[in-house]
Each structure stands twice: as structure tokens, then as C-alpha cells.
Amino acid sequence: MYAALHAVTQFYGSRLVFKGVSLRVEPGQVLLLAGPNGAGKSTLMRLLAGLLLPTQGTVSFGEALQHNRQALAYLGHQSFLYPELTALENLHFWNAWEGGKATRSMCEAVLERVNLLPFADEKVKGFSRGMAQRLTLARVLLQNPLLLLLDEPASGLDTQSSTMLHAEIAAAKQRGAAVVWISHHIAHDIALADAVALLEHKRLAFYGTPAEFATRSTAEPAGGAA
């Protein structure tokens, strides 16, 4: 097990986000997180990233994640990028901050994977939203993490970049990394998933395999999830 939520209930002030959520993230697993806007998907992601403490319940991490500073990577709604630094400088900074020792050639290699190598020495302030999102993905990939937390990673990406994202998620899974992935394109992304968790009506409405999810969706369409 890489990470697990045990009966987690989360409040923002007096507002209940969700209650009694329990799930596990296993090595090599791609867990798709679905649910309508405001269901608490990003909150759950922030709990897994350690950026939030649960109001009730516990979040635990496996041995492999407890002793490795680079084992967990998070791609959220904000890019974490410094506009005045170049793409390479941003990659270098975040890698070094997390204790990594990536060389220039390693940074360039990951930039090539996200099709940004020609822009390696350009300042990020000139990047489009899609380019910034790809650079954020490069930041996460450079870490070579065991657990990838991707909160709507496809937002701002064109079709070609979405294909690249799928390939990177498949590659991460192949090397044994776990991926927790928030997506609003379930029908498109479910092919890569090993498990689906649906947050709805302030609770975990579904947690199972993609096949079970497909059966459930046919019988009872999930509002906004697909």
C-alpha cells in the first residue's frame, strides 16, 4: 500500500465536504477520482499530498513513501512555476528543493518528453496555459515519484498533449508507480484506470473497478461524473 484514507471526514469551517471516506492506493494502480464540481475531489487530493490534515479519520502512507522525499509528486490547479525563471531553471529549482540531483541533460530529456525542449531557456511568463501545464507535468515526471497525484492534469492540453499525458501515466504505472487522477473525461480516461472512486453527495458513492463503474453508470448515471 502506498497511501490510504481511513474513515476521513473533512470540513471547511462549518461546511461538510465529505464524510467517512476510506480508500487505498496500491503500487502500480491508477485510481480515477470522479465526481461533480464541489464534491471534494481536490480536497481529497490535498489530503493525500499532506497539504491538509483530515478533520476526522486518518491518512497513512506506506513505508516506501515515508523515507523518500521525492516519492510523492502533486500536480494541482496551480502550476508552482516562477514566471521570471526559464523552463529549465524551474525544473532545476523544484528538483533540487525536493532533494533531487537532476542534471541539465536529465531536465532536457524530460522537457523533450513533454515537447518543450525548444523552449527550455525561455522564461515561463511567455508560456501559454497548455505549455505551462506541460512544464508542470515535466516537473512532476522529473521527480520519478512512486505516487503521482494529478488534479485535472489534462486541463489546457491539446489532443496531442493529452495523448502524451496518457502515455506518461501508462509508463508510470508500468514502472510500479501509483497514480491518483482527477478527470472530468471519465469515458476517455477510464481505459487507463484500475480503480474508480466517485465522490458524490458528500460521500464516497462508488469505489470499485472500471467494469463495475461502467455497469453502475449504465444503471444509474452519475451526475456530472462522466
Binding site: 522525499r69 494541482g76 528543493w97 532533494g99
Partner: protein
């Protein structure tokens, strides 16, 4: 932690010197203060050593606020603060990195303010060089230690300039008093026993400020 702090320090210095805006603003403000005070002095009688020292430390204090606002401003906008809190790097690495970057920036600014003091206020070190340098180091150390903590506190606040100044200046008063006293003594060359006492007092304040800031920083920086 030291490696992460060094990484942040290098990034901040690159941004501060490359972009220049924060540093140039601080420098211009410092020069402006010195110049304006020089206008108030009578041409025949130069500004007193104590007044000149007070003007130097006042300019330094305002520059310090500008420098910290600039430094902590780098982590606003794209959620960079959250990024720094991810993983297992202790938050104190931010305090240390920002503090070190501010110290270098402040020393750069002061290195240019001192000649301005000499030109416009007609004061210069004539004696007590080692003590004056020690006073500069002690006042700056305590200042950046506390400034780095309070800069984090005011990060993301609308009126951060006011908030930082309101909290920082009263706390730094003992260090400013020491700086004024020792610099005035160095400008006049009047050796006094009290210089040593002031320096020891400043060292004690530094120890307290640095220790408290180190311990409190994670609570302030990780708070939502």
C-alpha cells in the same frame, strides 16, 4: 534542510538581481531618505553623527521591508508556497533561504547607502571599524531573522507592507538603537565603554530573535 535552503537562496538571489525591481526600489527609497534629510541640514553645520546614524538605520529598516515583501512575493500567484510545503523539506529551509537572500540584498543596499551618508550627510567611519562592522552584522542578522518570520506572516495579505512594518519595527528597536549608538561612535571616533555593552545586548537579542523565529516559522508558514 541546508541544501534546500541554499537552493531557495540561489533562486531568490537570481530573481532579485536579475529582475532588480525589489532591490532598485529599496535602494531608491534609501537614497531618497538620505537626500531629503540632507536638505534639512544647515550647510555650515553638518548633520550630527547620531542623526546621520539614525537616518542610515531608518533607511535600512524601510529597505528591509521592501526586500522581504519582494522575496515572499515570489511565492504568490502560482501556489509556489504550497509547492515548498510539499514533500519532507522542513519549512525552516524557507526561513533560512529567504533570510540569507535578504541579508545579502540588505548588505548590498547598505554598501551603497554608506557612501551616500558620507556625501550627503558628511559623515564617515573614522574609528571603531571592527565594532561598526560587528554592529552592522548583528543588527542585520536579527533583522533578517525576524523579518523572514514576519514576511511569511504577511504573505498573501492585502496590506502586507503596513503589516510587516507595524510588527517588525517595534521589535527591532533595540537593534536599531544599538546600530545608531555604535555608528555614531564610529562616525565621531569617540571611544566609549558602552559600545561593548551595546554589542553584547544586540547579540542577546539576536539569539532570542533567531531562536524564536526558527521555532515559530513552521506554524506561521504552514497555516492556511
Amino acid at each position: 534542510m541546508m541544501r534546500s535552503a541554499l537552493t531557495l537562496f540561489q533562486k531568490d538571489i537570481r530573481l532579485l538581481l536579475g529582475r532588480g525591481s525589489g532591490l532598485v526600489q529599496a535602494l531608491l527609497l534609501g537614497f531618497l531618505l538620505i537626500f531629503l534629510f540632507s536638505l534639512s541640514a544647515d550647510m555650515a553645520t553638518p548633520t550630527t553623527a547620531k542623526a546621520a546614524a539614525a537616518i542610515f538605520w531608518m533607511a535600512s529598516a524601510f529597505c528591509q521591508v521592501l526586500i522581504f515583501n519582494t522575496l515572499y512575493g515570489y511565492e504568490e500567484g502560482q501556489g509556489q508556497r504550497l509547492g515548498l510545503l510539499l514533500g519532507k523539506t522542513p519549512p525552516q529551509a524557507v526561513w533560512l533561504g529567504k533570510g540569507a537572500a535578504a541579508l545579502v540584498a540588505l548588505l548590498l543596499v547598505q554598501a551603497l547607502l554608506l557612501p551616500a551618508i558620507a556625501v550627503f550627510l558628511r559623515q564617515g567611519f573614522v574609528a571603531l571599524w571592527p565594532q561598526a562592522i560587528l554592529a552592522l552584522v548583528l543588527a542585520n542578522l536579527g533583522g533578517v531573522g525576524l523579518g523572514s518570520l514576519l514576511g511569511a506572516l504577511s504573505q498573501g495579505q492585502g496590506a502586507k507592507e503596513s503589516l510587516l512594518s507595524i510588527i517588525l519595527f517595534p521589535l527591532l528597536l533595540p537593534l536599531f538603537l544599538m546600530g545608531i549608538f555604535v555608528f555614531a561612535a564610529a562616525f565621531t571616533g569617540e571611544h566609549t565603554q558602552e559600545v561593548g555593552a551595546w554589542l553584547r545586548l544586540a547579540a542577546a537579542f539576536d539569539g532570542t530573535f533567531l531562536g524564536a523565529a526558527y521555532l515559530l516559522f513552521p506554524y506561521i508558514y504552514t497555516a492556511e
